[in-house]
Structures are given as C-alpha cells and as structure tokens.
Amino acid sequence: MIRFEKVSKKLGGRVVLDEIDYEIRKNETFVIVGASGAGKSVSLKHMVRLLTPDSGRVMIGDDCVSEARGQELDRMRNRFGFLFQSAALLQWLSVGDNVGLPLRMKTNKRIEEIDELVREKLEMVNLGDAFDKQPAELSGGMRKRVGLARAIITDPEIILYDEPTSGLDPVTSRTIDRLIDRLREDLGVTSVVVTHDLHSALAIGTRIAMLHDGKIVEVSTPEQFVKSENEIVRGFLEAQYITTRGEWEDSETS
C-alpha cells in the first residue's frame, strides 16, 4: 500500500534517510521505532509529501506521492489522516471546530451534519463532552485524542501517528494504544505509527521496523522483533528493559 523505494533525504547537511526501502501492507499497523533523530518522523512526513525525497520515490498504491502536485496531491492526501506529535490543533478554534475543520473546508455538508459527525468521532475517542472546549483547556492526552478524532473525521484509509504516546502517562498511553488498535479492527484502516515507546510498539504493531542512522535495520513481527539477534535492536530493547519475549509478556500482563 505504501512503498519506499531507495528514498534518501538530507536535512541540515546530515543524511537522515539513506536509500531506505520498505513496504507497508493494507490493514496492518506498521510501527517505526528508533532513537531520537533516527529519521522516523521524516519518514512519516514523506508519505504525505510534507517532505520530498532528495532521491528515490514514495508510492501510495500506484500513485507516486513524491512527485504529485496540486489536485493530484490533494487527492492522495485525502486518503490520509495524520495525528501530529503536538496534535497540531488550531488554538483559536474550539474542539468541535477543530475536528470538523476538514469537513467544513472541503465538503458542502450542512453545519448540523458536520456537528453530528464530529460528536460521533469525539465519542469514539471518549471525549463526547469536549465539543465546546478550547484546546488550551485540554490535557496532553485529551489533545492527542482530539487530534485523532480530527484525523479520522474524513474516514481515511491510512492513519499516520507521529509519537502518539510521547509525553503521556502510562495509563493514557495505553488508552491511545487501544484506540489505535480499535481503529484498525473496527474501521479496517492501515496505520503507520512512529514511536520510541517499545511497549506501545509491541502491543499494537503487526510489524515493527527499526530505523538507525537513516537505514532500516530490522522489519519483523513483534514476536520476531523481541528475539532479534541484531545488536542495534537488542540494545534498543534492553534500554527499555525488554530482554526476551517472555519478559515482555510478563511486563505487559503485570
């Protein structure tokens, strides 16, 4: 569904992505992990052409998003929902207006119709009573959930999550994880999650890719990932106190 073909990107003179190749399949939750600055978010931004590769190309199905322009790019972007790390809510709009913004600006739906859809999506993220609140009144977790409601308001095929649990307490993080899982199961969306929270990655991912120094060093299922012999992966697992699959399962259940 999404394919990176030898994509390279330099930012500020540093190679962030170095001829990376990987493919994300339909209806899976593909998690990209790696240390800070490894190129995870840069990779995500290439999928919606917020960044353009220096070389290589990014394909969405049969469409080449890295070369698309104008209406063609809009059409491709309309297939996506994007939850930004900071949620990126417009500060002067209420929660309801933020979530309904894509519908208000891009469709001819009536206000009542939009409001109804907004309330439905807010209910899905357990924020049914936040419709009239301002973003400044919300906690970090609530903002992310509003951002998620906005990302799914147009019922996209693919949802991109940039660090959905960063800065959140463990309980709220697991709530977000469950929401991501539910969206894949209930709506059948393809999800791409960028995170350095391995507990979250192992819980929600159908496949996990590890980015290191601009290269993909591992792509595997969570079960294979925790057993990986790759030194970089092992170091990353051990840094988060996950040494074997058994221990991870124990830590998840305890």
């Binding site: 931004k45 919606v48 917020l50 790019l73 809009d74 972007r77 309309n78 996506f80 994007f82 930004f84 790390q85 900071s86 990126a88 809510l89 417009l90 500060q91 913004l101 894509p102 208000r104 600006m105 891009k106």
Partner: protein, 246 residues
C-alpha cells in the same frame, strides 16, 4: 536570500489574490469579518491617540513658524494637506504594521513551528487561502477606512491647537483647509493606504510562514515583520508621492 524571500512572498501574494473570490463563501466570510474587526476596530484606540497628536504637532510646528509672518491661519491647509497626502496613511501604516502585522506574524509563526500549518496541508486545506487571503482582504478593505479616520482625527487635533494656542478659530481653520485640500490629495493618500495594507499582510504572513526554531524564531519573525514593513512603507510612500506630485 533577499531575492528568494521576495520571490516566495510574491508567489504567496499572487496565490492569495487568486483566492479572493473564495472569500465570499460562507466558509470564509466569518474569517474575513474577524480579521477586519482585528485590523480596524481593535486598532482604533491607538490610532485615535496617534492621529490626534500627529495633527496637534503638525499644527503647532507649522503654526509657530507661520505666526512669524502673521499667516497662522494657513495651518488649516497645512495640516489637512499633509494629513491627507502623507501623515494619515503613513502613521496608519506604521501603527497597523506594529500592532496587527506583528500579531499576524506571531500567530502564523507559532502555527508554523507547532506543525499547525503542516496539519492544514495534510488536510488539503491551502494555508494561503485559509490564512493569508482573509488577512489580505481585511487589510485592503480596512486600511483606507482607518486612514480616513486618522485623517479626520489629525485635522481635529490641528484645529484644537489652532483654537487654543494659535488663536485660529475653528471656522477659519476649516475654511482654509477646504480651500486648499484637493480630492487628489485624498485619493493619493487612500491609494497609499491600500498599498501599505498589501505590504503589511504580505510581509507579516510571509515572515510567519518562514519562522523556524520555536519561540526564538517566532520572535525574530515578529521583529522582522515590523522592520521590513516600516522600510517598504517608507520607500513605497516616497515613490507614490514622487509619481503623483512632481
């Protein structure tokens, strides 16, 4: 660097002009009205004080000189003509650049560094149409109105000084003013005000979109908006005057 910035600012301005027809739709009408309110109504307090004192200073300085020749009655025309041609649009431009322009740059700059602009792009909502065009339309429509208000307040300020300090009656002041001020003075001043509005909106939005590196970047964008707007307003003001008064 300057050429590249000018180029991207011009492209943004062209895109914003192209999107003006969209502003009549209910989706954008509220945004335009809100920006018009911020540009005009919210600035009236400071405009009143600056306009009043500009007129008073002009009247006092010219009046004291003219008094040496017994011609102080001519402060009516001096103040009115100078306000209409130069000081009205110029002072309004400076105030709007410093208050509204800096606020626009800070708002769009904050949106840029907090990924809100990226969010708009991903939602296929053109940032220029959503953010620049309503501000541009507000500037183009409100700057002339605010300038007319500044002119009136300035002329009234001059009249107050004439009456209280130079012994020029209100009637004599107004007679003199209407005798020498021409329609051309008003039109040229209003043309300047429209150009200044376009300059402020373009510089402020462009600086906002160019903001980088968090709060420091937003601060720099705000500062550059005021400085660059002032410089362009001064230059364009002179060029328009040169064009119409040779």
């Amino acid at each position: 660097m300057v050429c590249r910035n000018t180029g991207t600012a011009m492209l943004m301005l062209l895109e914003a002009f192209r999107d003006i027809p969209f502003m009549v739709s209910p989706k954008h009408r509220h945004d335009v009205l809100h920006q018009q309110f911020l540009t005009a109504i919210k600035s009236l307090g400071v405009i009143t004080v600056v306009g009043l004192f500009t007129g008073m200073i002009l009247a006092l300085q010219t009046g004291l000189e003219l008094r040496r020749y017994g011609q102080e009655v001519y402060i009516g025309s001096a103040v009115t003509v100078v306000m209409l041609r130069e000081m009205g649009p110029f002072m309004t431009g400076l105030i709007i650049a410093a208050s509204v322009g800096s606020a626009i740059a800070a708002q769009i700059g904050t949106m840029t560094v907090s990924e809100e602009i990226s969010a708009l792009e991903v939602m296929s909502i053109p940032p220029a149409r959503y953010l620049v065009t309503p501000r541009l339309v507000a500037m183009i429509t409100m700057m002339p109105l605010v300038t007319v208000y500044t002119n009136i307040i300035g002329v009234v300020g001059g009249a107050i000084v004439g009456q209280t300090q130079l012994g020029v009656s209100m009637t004599a002041y107004m007679d003199n003013a209407t005798q020498f001020a021409a329609n051309k003075d008003l039109y040229v001043g209003l043309l300047k005000s429209v150009l200044f509005g376009i300059i402020i909106a373009t510089v402020a939005c462009h600086q906002g979109f160019s903001a980088k590196q968090g709060a420091v970047g937003v601060g720099l964008a705000t500062r550059r908006t005021v400085v660059v707007s002032f410089l362009i307003i001064l230059t364009v003001g002179y060029m328009v005057t040169r064009l119409f008064y040779q």
